[in-house]
Symmetry: C2
Subunit: 123 residues, 2 copies
Amino acid sequence: MQRDTRQRRAIRAAFEEAGHPLSPQELLEAARQEVKGLGIATVYRNIRALQDEGWLEAVELPGEPARYERAGKAHHHHFHCRECDRVYEVDGCPGNLKEVTPPGFTLEAHEFVLYGLCEACAA
Amino acid sequence: MQRDTRQRRAIRAAFEEAGHPLSPQELLEAARQEVKGLGIATVYRNIRALQDEGWLEAVELPGEPARYERAGKAHHHHFHCRECDRVYEVDGCPGNLKEVTPPGFTLEAHEFVLYGLCEACAA
DNA sequence: GTCGTTGCAAAGCGTTTGCAGCCTA
DNA sequence: TAGGCTGCAAACGCTTTGCAACGAC
């Protein structure tokens, strides 16, 4: 049975407050403001627990450590700003996925990441 | 000045022969058939050297170690088989990238990865 | 012979796991 | 009080680096 600890509450709260995906390190720093002495192992263990529970989802970006965001959102992709390093959600989905799939291959899922400048950084 | 060693020749040859991106480990195994006793450190050092030289390009897949392929190919994306773990090139590009980009954002690049079963594994 | 290159082993780095004590239910 | 949870440190897997010997030119 799962218990409601200070650590877990702080970790959940960090995700509620952040409007964007968090890395384990960012999460540690955020949650430590609430729970001093919080260990990185606890952060990783809770990330996994919250994922198993279906409360969190991994956001895997090519070439960098995974970030995490609240689960249950509608299908979406991400825009990674190369200036502020922030990750934004984008709605919608590129077309002609099937036409791009090689003949004989079975398509089950897809990842899609946009890179560039966000509105603030483009100004 | 760069030297032409047995190891470097074997590594180059492995890429020429493989029709798909190779991970450092796959590369080690392939090149070892030519050069027994080849070390993994040498593989990594040559991957970097060949990248600097513009002969190789990294293929970064979300959530796993990078693979590498010959540079200079036409724009393409990749299909990752969840069964045999191989990565294939796919030609073409999904549409409506601009429609998906949020207003005010500047789109500079995109990554796109398909997941599923390759032709061999789907059988 | 020079000096770039190699293999080995050790060091890094992010993530996971073992363990003894802690704390929630 | 039981047993899930935590912090610490050690263990991991992948990649990089230090070093002395090697070998291309």
